[in-house]
């Protein structure tokens, strides 16, 4: 995966200054680096996907959509300093859009176009909310997005077309024959629908992360961080605060929309209960656990949130607990992990590793 994170971590060796010190070469282009990481990542995913069973495949699909949304959120919160408690609501927009577009036999649009459409629709909704949010500050943005997270599932109930409480079933289109053939050719095994969705999710994640990493590395990311660190100084330097904030918000919600689309396909149903406040908070904890402003962190956080509950429940039953008791263990462990990270490693997992590494190199 692309591992672009925050400024300070870049090549700390170069910071060992002195007149003759190593001068950091400015990479002529970041794209080749990000692309090669992406290819490596996809290879790794393929290996994992082919060596694990159907249940693990579906978990990997969950990790993919959490990771996509968390990646977008870490850009918004970590790089631009805007706290959104409502990204679950944007995932809902993406998910419902997907469900509606896939309704019909055969679906009116090919799958990639459906994913793009879900992203675009959410992006537009995000732009409207973002313009409003740009007028707000700190806790008020959090409040407004919180309201959104609470309101959206309720609003959905009022629309017959959206299936009310039961929600909409998501029809996965038939896997194209050429995809089946290609998969068999490469992996030597049949591609079942679960695995197909998981692959789609990871492809979407890799594309998203490459694009986000590109943005973070360049002038756009710098602009976002400048606004985060000092508004007045950023403005004097020629940055339009509102535009920078709306852009970050829109990019972030587009990710949430894509995540929602993948979620719809993975879960096979989009219902209001799937997009409760819990989802928004889950995303935020993934981002905080992993380390704010880091895509690697967002991915690690999503992995933890996907696999930890199951792992803990498994350990519980192994230790002789009843299934019910074991299932109760997961939220407790999850809560403890969260508290532990905040107390011991407030910079998140990647942030803490980064600091440790830097200290070892003796850099301030």
């Amino acid at each position: 995966m692309p591992t672009t994170t925050e400024a300070g971590e870049k090549d700390p060796a170069a910071a060992a200054d002195g007149r003759g010190g190593p001068r950091r070469r400015w990479r002529s282009s970041v794209l080749p680096r990000h692309l090669s990481l992406a290819v490596l990542g996809l290879l790794a995913v393929t290996v994992v996907m082919e060596t694990t069973g159907s249940f693990a495949n579906s978990q990997l699909a969950s990790m993919a959509y959490l990771g996509i949304a968390a990646g977008g959120l870490t850009v918004l919160t970590g790089l631009n300093g805007q706290l959104s408690l409502g990204h679950g609501a944007f995932m809902a927009v993406g998910a419902y859009t997907t469900a509606l577009f896939l309704d019909g036999e055969p679906p009116a649009l090919p799958l990639p176009v459906v994913l793009a459409a879900a992203t675009l629709v959410t992006l537009l909704v995000g732009a409207v909310v973002g313009v409003a949010a740009a007028r707000l500050h700190g806790p008020y943005i959090a409040g407004a997005t919180l309201a959104l997270a609470v309101a959206v599932p309720g609003v959905v109930l009022h629309f017959e077309r959206l299936g009310g409480e039961q929600g909409l079933g998501v029809r996965m289109p038939e896997t194209p024959v050429w995809v089946l053939d290609a998969a068999y050719f490469v992996t030597g095994s049949e591609l079942d629908p679960t695995k197909y969705v998981a692959y789609i999710g990871w492809a979407a994640l890799v594309v998203t992360y490459v694009l986000l990493a590109n943005l973070m590395r360049g002038r756009v990311g710098r602009t976002w961080r400048a606004v985060r660190d000092d508004e007045v100084a950023a403005e004097i330097a020629g940055i339009h605060l509102g535009r920078a904030r709306v852009l970050a918000f829109v990019v972030s919600t587009a990710c949430a929309g894509l995540a929602g689309a993948v979620m719809a396909m993975a879960v096979r149903i989009t219902a209001p209960s799937g997009f409760s406040l819990t989802l928004s908070l889950t995303l935020l904890s993934a981002v905080v656990l992993g380390g704010l402003g880091s895509l690697t962190g967002a991915l690690i956080g999503s992995a933890l949130l996907t696999f930890l509950p199951h792992l803990v429940t498994g350990l519980g039953t192994d230790a002789g607990l009843t299934d019910v008791r074991a299932a109760e263990l997961a939220p407790a462990v999850y809560g403890l992990t969260m508290i532990l990270v905040i107390l011991v490693a407030p910079a998140g997992i990647t942030g803490t590793l980064r600091n440790l590494w830097r200290r070892r190199r003796g850099v301030a």
Binding site: E6, A7, G8, K10, D11, A14, A15, D17, G18, R19, G21, R24, W26, R27, S28, S29, V30, L31, H34, V210, L211, N214, L215, R217, G218, R219, V220, G221, R222, T223, R225, A226, R228, D229, D230, V232, A233, A234, E235, I236, A237, G238, I239, H240, L241, L247, A364
Partner: protein, 295 residues
């Protein structure tokens, strides 16, 4: 902004001189009951260093905030190269060619020194969102050009070796230079410096003086400063504010002898001994705390 322009221009300088680069005409600002500025007018000629002095709370930072669009004046006009700046917004300054340093440092703490300065160079960026998103070579080359520009500016101020450090880990005088580099890298035609010498030692201040003089081959400078030695040695012209009014203007020698100025500083010797900070002792004004934007 279409205020009545009752400009009582009692300017004595630049009559028939070079046309002003930047003019403030009849600007008044009120904060509730406080008249922070009343009918203030001044001209900055190209490549001139104009000092703005006055006791604490005289309105100097407010004047800068008006010039930057942070504070909308109740009346008065701003002219940039002869054209009126209406509805000025701070983010437009850089592209107009106006740079500013803040009374506080205002550095981006979680960005490296180089990145701090690169943000200031945004005016020279040629590529936008799409080339950044898709990681196109164009965007990367543009970024490399900005980085090179930022490094040159840092080198010009003798702090290039700190390029990859975070500002928080650096000594105060270095951070001051980084802030200056961020303002200079945009190659402004007018630079507004708000207390650039604050927190500097004597020899550093002398260096700063030389540096400011050195800038005048490229730009005009408007300088707010309490250190009279520095002001007297680098400014071509000085405007003195007191209680939001211009009480004197002219060359350093004129201003130093002006009875109104002497009175405003309560008899403190203006342009006195090394590091003398006129105005700081004005007990009468100690109660006026300042809450300028961005400080």
């Amino acid at each position: 902004m279409s205020p009545p322009t009752t400009a009582t221009t009692e300017r004595t300088d630049h009559d028939g001189g070079p046309p002003a680069l930047f003019s403030i005409t009849g600007v008044s600002v009120r904060f509730g009951g406080v008249r922070a500025l009343s009918e203030v007018s001044l001209d900055v000629a190209p490549r001139q260093v104009l000092g703005v002095i006055g006791p604490n709370g005289a309105g100097k930072t407010t004047l800068f905030n008006v010039a930057c669009g942070f504070v909308r004046p109740d009346s008065g006009r701003l002219l940039w190269k002869g054209e009126e700046l209406t509805g000025l917004r701070p983010h437009r300054l850089a592209s107009l060619g106006i740079g500013r340093t803040l009374q506080g440092l205002g550095l981006f703490d979680r960005m490296t020194v180089l990145e701090n300065v690169m943000v200031g160079a945004g005016r020279h960026a040629r590529t936008g969102f799409a080339s950044a998103l898709f990681g196109l070579g164009r965007g990367a080359r543009d970024d490399a050009a900005l980085a090179a520009r930022a490094r040159r500016t840092l080198a010009g101020l003798g702090v290039e070796r700190y390029a990859d450090r975070l500002p928080g880990s650096l000594p105060y005088p270095v951070r001051k230079r980084v802030a200056l580099a961020r303002a200079l890298v945009g190659e402004p035609e007018l630079l507004l410096l708000d207390e650039p010498a604050g927190g500097l030692a004597g020899d550093e201040m002398a260096e700063l003086g030389e540096l400011i003089r050195g800038l005048t081959d490229r730009m005009a400078v408007m300088l707010v400063e309490h250190h009279m030695d520095l002001v007297m040695s680098v400014c071509d012209d000085i405007t003195v504010l007191d209680f939001g009014r211009v009480i004197a203007r002219g060359g350093p020698d004129e201003v130093r002898r002006d009875p109104a100025v002497v009175a405003a500083y309560l008899g403190e010797e203006v342009g006195g001994k090394a590091g003398g900070k006129a105005g700081e002792g004005a007990g009468e004004r100690a109660g006026r705390e300042q809450r300028g934007t961005g400080e």
